[in-house]
Symmetry: C2
Subunit: 119 residues, 2 copies
């Protein structure tokens, strides 16, 4: 999980994932697209591979880089979880506000959450 997000924490690597999702590229094909050494691009691909965001397939002397959808899906799933938590929270607050007097209850809710968090 650390590796997965770490892999996305670089613009070149995000671009590589985008390109290999759109179409098929060899490592050298990718290297031609960026203003950096071949070895640097190689390293980026290695990071992505290690994070299971891409796979490499040897084709003759070339290595073809392909997107691994499952890796991407994994990251999305985690972020979706946070979204769910967030929605639950906002709904919970909305419910409380709808039930009783806004001012008195907002104060009470704040206290309840704090003591829950510190417990």
């Amino acid at each position: 999980m650390d590796r997965l997000f770490q892999a996305f924490a670089d613009a070149t690597r995000r671009d590589i994932v985008r390109r290999v999702t759109v179409g098929e590229y060899s490592v050298s094909g990718l290297a031609a697209l960026y203003a950096m050494s071949f070895a640097a691009v190689q390293k980026h691909v290695a990071v992505l591979e290690r994070a299971s965001l891409v796979t490499k397939e040897k084709r003759g002397r070339e290595q073809i880089v392909r997107a691994n959808h499952a890796g991407l899906h994994k990251a999305r799933s985690l972020l979706d979880e946070y979204e769910v938590i967030w929605r639950q929270r906002t709904e919970r607050i909305a419910d409380l506000l709808a039930e009783t007097d806004p001012q008195a209850n907002e104060k009470s809710a704040g206290k309840a959450e704090t003591s829950e968090a510190e417990a």
Copy 2:
């Protein structure tokens, strides 16, 4: 963008985001939950703040840490883009396969993509 994903590339920080999405925590409240120094947790919070994933609000001598939904949403949006690209790709391939002879066309599609990528 780099910072945003970088911030998620650590388990403690992911956990911090989860907690402050669920409920309200002070920095020291968070620090009590992890087996590391206060200063280390402080650093993690600083990373999250810098990535706009949380906000800090001074309340007396305490700093209350809150989730910033917009930051999270931003990361999700980017990952959604990849999903869209992926879907477009799989649909495009499915269309091609549905139109003509599977074997001959699969080979032709592979070639067309390669030359497009290298152009």
